[in-house]
């Protein structure tokens, strides 16, 4: 009799554990997105990248360096070509500025300017400077699972929270189950139309992490043009002060 009670409790305990652990182990869509952002960015990051703007008739190349800390601070510096060298973009919390050395002026980037192209590329100001808002300003929902570039991915819809200062009303993310990297992203505007599609390739280890080193952004209405961002170097989780992300530093950086 006591044995039977013991077995029952053991069984129910096991079952309960299985259920509970299953419940605890299953990640919510928001968790996935958060983890993906962490994977791509870390607590702090530094990367050196080249951007190639590809059009039917011509191609232009720019080089840049970018620093991020947490989800609130980021700084992007253009190092080539000579004409644009020294231009920088800074984000602190919800404010963004651009420094243009040739006119010695800091231009405050209003939220309305976020959807404008960054330096003539297919990436918007929002994509480059305001990256982390995908975690903070959106609600997430898991839709399905799909294969992308031989990688199993979760397909998650991120729907903008009302009153969030964001460019896209909906973003669909393909996040790799294995590496938690964003493999494909579709950006949709407030008229429910697909505007841009970003895809990432060449997952490599840089600076101790797996990151997708090649990202392409293709506008939906002009499929014969695209912009590629290729990361050459990266470092993660090093110490960097908050005061690095300041307007003085933005103006002082040259290289």
């Amino acid at each position: 009799m006591r044995l039977w009670v013991m077995i029952k409790s053991l069984l129910s305990g096991m079952l309960l554990t299985v259920f509970v652990s299953g419940y605890v182990d299953a990640e919510t869509a928001s968790d996935i997105v958060d983890r993906s952002d962490e994977q791509m960015r870390g607590d702090s990051s530094y990367s050196v990248a080249t951007m190639k703007i590809i059009r039917p008739d011509w191609t232009r190349t720019m080089s840049m360096k970018s620093w991020t800390k947490g989800q609130e601070l980021s700084l992007v510096l253009v190092t080539a070509p000579a004409k644009d060298k020294g231009s920088a973009s800074l984000k602190r919390q919800k404010e963004m500025w651009s420094w243009i050395p040739s006119i010695e002026r800091v231009i405050k980037i209003a939220p309305s300017m976020l959807s404008q192209s960054w330096m003539g590329s297919d990436f918007t100001n929002d994509d480059l400077i305001n990256q982390s808002s995908i975690v903070v300003d959106y609600e997430h929902k898991l839709v399905k699972e799909e294969l992308f570039d031989n990688d199993n991915t979760w397909v998650i819809d991120a729907i903008a929270k009302p009153d969030a200062p964001v460019v896209w009303s909906k973003v669909r993310l393909w996040i790799s189950k294995q590496t938690y990297l964003q493999r494909k992203v579709e950006f949709i505007d407030e008229f429910d139309e697909l505007v841009n599609t970003m895809e990432t390739y060449d997952v490599k280890e840089l600076g101790g992490r797996n990151i997708a080193t090649r990202m392409t952004m293709v506008p939906a209405d002009k499929p014969d043009q695209r912009t590629e961002l290729i990361t050459h170097e990266a470092q993660f989780n090093f110490d960097i002060g908050d005061d690095f992300f300041s307007q003085q530093q933005m103006k002082a950086l040259r290289d």
Binding site: I53, R55, W58, R60, K83, D84, S87, I100, S102, I103, E104, R105, I107, S117, M119, G120, S121
Partner: protein
């Protein structure tokens, strides 16, 4: 023989003939004068306004007309412009780069039109250096700019201050630059005064990252009357088959249609007045010819009865009218030609406020008169046409002349 007869018939009524001829002559002189003045002022207006804005002909990228974009440019190489330079009606060619940018100084900013030009060439064409009110005119290798007076006042800028220009350049590149003001220019047209920045062409090409390109080649021709021919030649030289850049050859009418339409309207008004004038005089001519026919009905009857062929009679009347018209035209031309020629070489000068306004615009305050063969030919043709019109009824009457009735009476026939 008919000719002698016709001529003698004219002088049977000396005063009537002379009066009719004089009426014709007067109409001719007045019309000639008015048309010459009209056409002269159009030519003047076209050339003057072309100088300051569009030029007489422009070569542009095909898409530039619609897009006005910095992307649609033409090469600025000598090789490209060589065919235009070789044409002998082409007097000068000016390369220009125009685009929009934001101008900022202190805490004020304004959208402006930036014109990259070759300063020496532009000055030769439109004497723009005369309009510099402060500072100096720019040179081709300067890194300073000229600003319109209205704009300078709005941005509180003086000579030597710095101006920020910020905008979109070629192929999406950012156009950003800091420039010193070398001079302030006053344009009489407020649209230009509040909007324009003049920059040396190489400097503007650096600002917009265009490289060796321009938005338009502005062409000035020697003679306005040959414009159409030159336009056709240019269109042929820059036809799409020959080049990979598609070039749009546009004349001033296309570039500034408001001016072309204004001129057309004014010309139509003038021509209407002229026809009115000839209409009135025409009745006088008609009266004379009709009288000459009807009063000689009996005479015609006798002539035909004694053997004159009807056709020859008709011919006689035609000759008589021709002589009157010829007389009128000759007197008219004799009086009118010296008048027009005199005023062509010594135009009427305008004074007072009108003159001042014209001088401000950079125009000479005169009323120019056009001297051109087709003005005269036009008038002669109109008189001829008038004469033929007036002959219709009298000739028909003679054609239907009944011999017997004519011999019997005369005045009350038919």
């Amino acid at each position: 023989m008919l000719i002698k007869l016709a001529w003698r018939n004219l002088w049977r009524q000396k005063r009537r003939t002379i009066l009719t001829a004089m009426a014709l002559a007067l109409a001719l002189v007045l019309s000639l004068f008015m048309r010459s003045m009209q056409e002269g002022s159009y030519a003047n207006n076209i050339e003057n306004s072309a100088k300051f804005s569009t030029g007489l002909i422009q070569l542009q990228h095909v898409e530039f007309e619609e897009s006005q974009s910095i992307e649609d440019l033409l090469p600025a190489t000598d090789e490209f412009i060589a065919p235009a330079r070789e044409m002998d009606d082409v007097e000068r060619i000016l390369p220009r780069l125009e685009s929009f940018a934001l101008a900022a100084a202190g805490d004020k900013s304004k959208g402006v039109m930036v014109l990259g030009v070759m300063p020496a060439l532009e000055d030769e064409y439109s004497s723009i250096s005369d309009k510099v009110v402060e500072g100096e005119f720019i040179k081709a290798d300067d890194s300073a700019v000229l600003i319109g007076q209205g704009l300078a006042e709005y941005l509180s800028l003086a000579v030597g201050d710095e101006l920020v220009l910020y905008g979109q350049g070629y192929r999406g590149q950012t156009a950003a630059g800091l420039y010193k003001i070398k001079g302030i220019v006053h344009f009489p047209l407020p649209q230009l005064d509040n909007l324009l920045i003049y920059m040396p062409l190489p400097l503007s090409q650096t600002l917009f990252s265009t490289g060796e390109q321009v938005s338009a080649w502005v062409i000035d021709t020697r003679e306005l009357t040959r414009l159409e021919q030159t336009l056709a030649d240019l269109k042929r030289a820059y036809s799409p088959q020959k080049l990979k850049n598609k070039v749009n050859v546009r004349d001033w009418e296309d570039l500034a249609p408001e001016m072309a339409q204004q001129i057309a309207m004014d010309k139509a008004g003038g021509i209407f007045m002229m026809y009115l004038l000839y209409g009135v005089v025409g009745f006088g001519l008609f009266a004379t010819i009709l009288m000459m026919t009807l009063e000689r009905y009996r005479e015609f009857g006798v002539m035909m009865a004694t053997g004159l062929v009807r056709a020859k009679l008709l011919g006689l009347v035609v000759l008589e009218s021709s002589f009157i018209s010829l007389l009128g035209v000759t007197i008219g031309l004799a009086l009118g030609t010296p008048l027009v020629v005199w005023f062509h070489y010594h135009p009427i000068e305008l004074t007072g406020e009108t003159a001042e306004m014209m001088l401000e615009l950079g125009w000479e305050p005169i009323l120019p008169m056009l001297l051109s063969p087709w003005l005269f030919i036009d008038q002669i043709l109109i008189v001829l046409g008038l004469m033929l019109l007036c002959l219709l009824y009298p000739l028909w009457r003679i054609y239907r002349l009944d011999l017997v009735t004519a011999l019997k009476g005369g005045a009350h026939v038919n």
